[in-house]
């Protein structure tokens, strides 16, 4: 009886003390006394201490749940700000040098909210142009905003808005204007600029085969334009099976083959310009009209090594090697080239999270004139054009929690004369919140 009385007293101390006043030291002293008196064994005391602390934490969580409205608990806000200095150094077709210096910003704000256990809605806003203009060499997929224009107010547009339904673990349906990573996987950005937010519906499936292997299938149907005067619109279809394999301790592989079909022939694409480099015919308002439907096959591979230089006593957390190849099987101008590839590596931390973390990245890309639709590639690499080859080297260095410096250099030129080489240097200060 005495034992139960003392146990009850100990439990009551935990349960009734205000959470901020629950001090592990005092609890342990009380339990120690019970152990000394032979009321409890040391094991029982540890069990009671650990389990009761967990019960108290649960009560606190339940309390929070009672005080905060449900929609607040189910909603997350996130965002980031990037301040950029950019220098463009280009040689024109007449071998004249042109330098351009810019201050640029990027702001992104995102909100996601759980509607219920299986349904999530996300909305994001970002800086960037909402339409291609020939006076600005940025493309519509960029989220950069160049500073200037007499301090004018800058556009802040809808970047993404989608619903994600997960009826079972490992399978999701996403509809709306979605994040690229939900619809497509690519280790580099040979074909897809990572700022692209596809519009349509995507299906994301993943399943573990065993503890060392899993498979995935990403697929989607995307709308490219809506033509009010016609019931026939351009669209694209994406199918991408892939797998993740743990090859050995600290070595993993991700591989996939993507197939994309773009039904674009004779349609005006607002994201494409006649000044771009694919095989187009001129449309209205300087927009381009592709001369064929594009059918791309893109195998891609990524190998990751943890602690790769351990044998040499050099502490580098990760080495990432990747490669991708793309070919367009469209019936279009066979002499101007329809394939491309990218090879690259990343060295350093998995992500830059604190002061001193660093990541060094390099890639070489070669993209022939009609390899991919030129509404897709990285807008920083030769203004997002095809018919190019380019080196990119980038270094991110952590300044503190959620903030880092980035240095990025692109050296690119056209594959055909005039080569018109271009160098772009970007110095970024990134902040995430």
């Amino acid at each position: 009886m005495k034992k139960w009385y003392l146990l009850f007293t100990a439990a009551a101390v935990f349960a009734t003390a205000p959470v901020s006043n629950v001090r592990a030291g005092e609890i342990d002293i009380l339990l120690d006394k019970l152990v000394d008196k032979g009321v409890l064994t040391a094991g029982e005391a540890r069990q009671i201490a650990a389990e009761t602390k967990e019960d108290v934490r649960k009560e606190v969580a339940a309390g929070k749940s009672d005080t905060l409205p449900k929609w607040v608990q189910n909603t997350k806000l996130k965002g980031d700000f990037r301040l950029r200095y950019q220098m463009d150094h280009a040689k024109s077709s007449h071998n004249q040098t042109k330098n351009r210096q810019r201050g640029r910003i990027r702001v992104r704000l995102g909100l996601e909210s759980k509607v219920n256990e299986k349904l999530l809605v996300a909305v994001g806003m970002a800086t960037g142009l909402n339409e291609y203009t020939t006076s600005n060499k940025d493309t519509i997929r960029s989220t950069n905003q160049t500073l200037g224009a007499s301090w004018s107010k800058k556009p802040f547009n809808l970047d993404y808005a989608y619903a994600k339904y997960t009826p079972m673990p490992g399978f999701a349906v996403i509809g709306g204007k979605m994040l690229l990573k939900d619809a497509i996987w690519e280790p580099g950005d040979l074909m897809w600029d990572t700022d692209i937010t596809p519009e349509g519906v995507a299906f994301d499936f993943a399943r573990n085969v065993n503890s060392d292997m899993s498979v995935f299938l990403k697929s989607g149907f995307f709308l490219l334009e809506e033509i009010s005067s016609s019931n026939d619109d351009p669209y694209s279809i994406h199918i991408q099976p892939g797998m993740d394999v743990k090859i050995a301790d600290g070595i993993s592989l991700r591989a996939s083959v993507a197939a994309d079909y773009f039904r674009v022939r004779d349609f005006t694409l607002k994201g494409s310009s006649v000044s771009n480099t694919g095989s187009y015919k001129s449309g209205d308002n300087s927009y381009a009209v592709p001369m064929a439907n594009y059918t791309n096959i893109m195998p891609a591979l990524e190998l990751k090594f943890s602690d790769p230089f351990k044998a040499f006593h050099i502490n580098v957390p990760q080495l990432r090697l990747f490669g991708e190849y793309v070919r367009n099987f469209a019936d279009i101008d066979p002499y101007s080239g329809k394939s491309g590839y990218m090879l690259g590596f990343g060295l350093g931390a998995d992500k830059v999270a604190k002061f001193g973390d660093w990541v060094l990245k390099y890639n070489y890309a070669r993209l022939e004139k009609n390899a991919v639709l030129d509404i897709l590639p990285d807008s920083d690499r030769y203004e997002g054009k095809t018919n190019i080859r380019a080196h990119e080297i980038a270094l991110d260095f952590g300044l503190g929690e959620n903030t880092w410096l980035g240095f990025d250099i692109y050296r690119a030129q056209l594959l055909t004369a005039p080569r018109a080489p271009s160098t772009v240097v970007q110095v970024d200060w990134n902040m995430k919140f």
Partner: protein, 271 residues
Amino acid sequence: MRVQKSILCAAAAIFLASAAPCYAGKVVVEGSTTVLPIAQRAAEVFMDDNPQVEISVRGGGSGVGIASLLAGTCDIADSSRPIKEKELEDAVSRGKDPKANVIAMDGIAVIVNPSNPVKSLTKKQLKDIYTGKISSWSALGGSGPIVAVSRDSSSGTFEAFGELALDKEKVRPDALMEASNQAVASVVAKTPGAIGYVGIGYINDSVKALELNGVYPSKETVLRNRYALSRPLFMYTNGKPDGDCKSFLDFIMSKQGQILVEKEGYIPLGG
């Protein structure tokens, strides 16, 4: 009509099976790789004595186990850490009630070769040794270079040591990585300048266990919460365990179950 009844019966069976998995003769255990050996061994012995119950045990890590418990895809979540604040809030929002059941203690002893004159380290000195800031015993009252011996990165002991001793910093790249507690003890026993870490159950006469912050590693100091490199091991259930889940947990906490805990190198709570 017969078809309709069959469908209704099947639906009812599926509903009952999913609503009360612990009563369905099957218990799914998932989570921490540290707790995995205890769960596996206990399940084998429990199923021998209770052939009508099937216990399925999977690893995956503490986070995976707790996520599965909250999603309702496992009955018991093994965890080598307390449930996180975010996981608790998630549980409350889903109407789940994760109940902590402590089944054992995990304690890690720091060992050196018996010829080493060093008897005690502070936690900071230990961290500095394993992160490469201290490379010679001369800075600690001994002599000669330090040979750091570690468990390989796939072991639960490695994970626990990283959290409890190194504040999640990386082990120095020149550390020798060994596949078992016995292998660590063996290397330390043969190498004069070596330092290693093993489960407290693996201390033997061929090595010398060091005091940490003035406390010697033993079952007693772990259970009395004196020794720094120790932590409770949990099996979380959704609410108070009942049915086959309760029977299985009762078995682990029984004298027979706690003997299995000790045999796997962990510290039993009693029984």
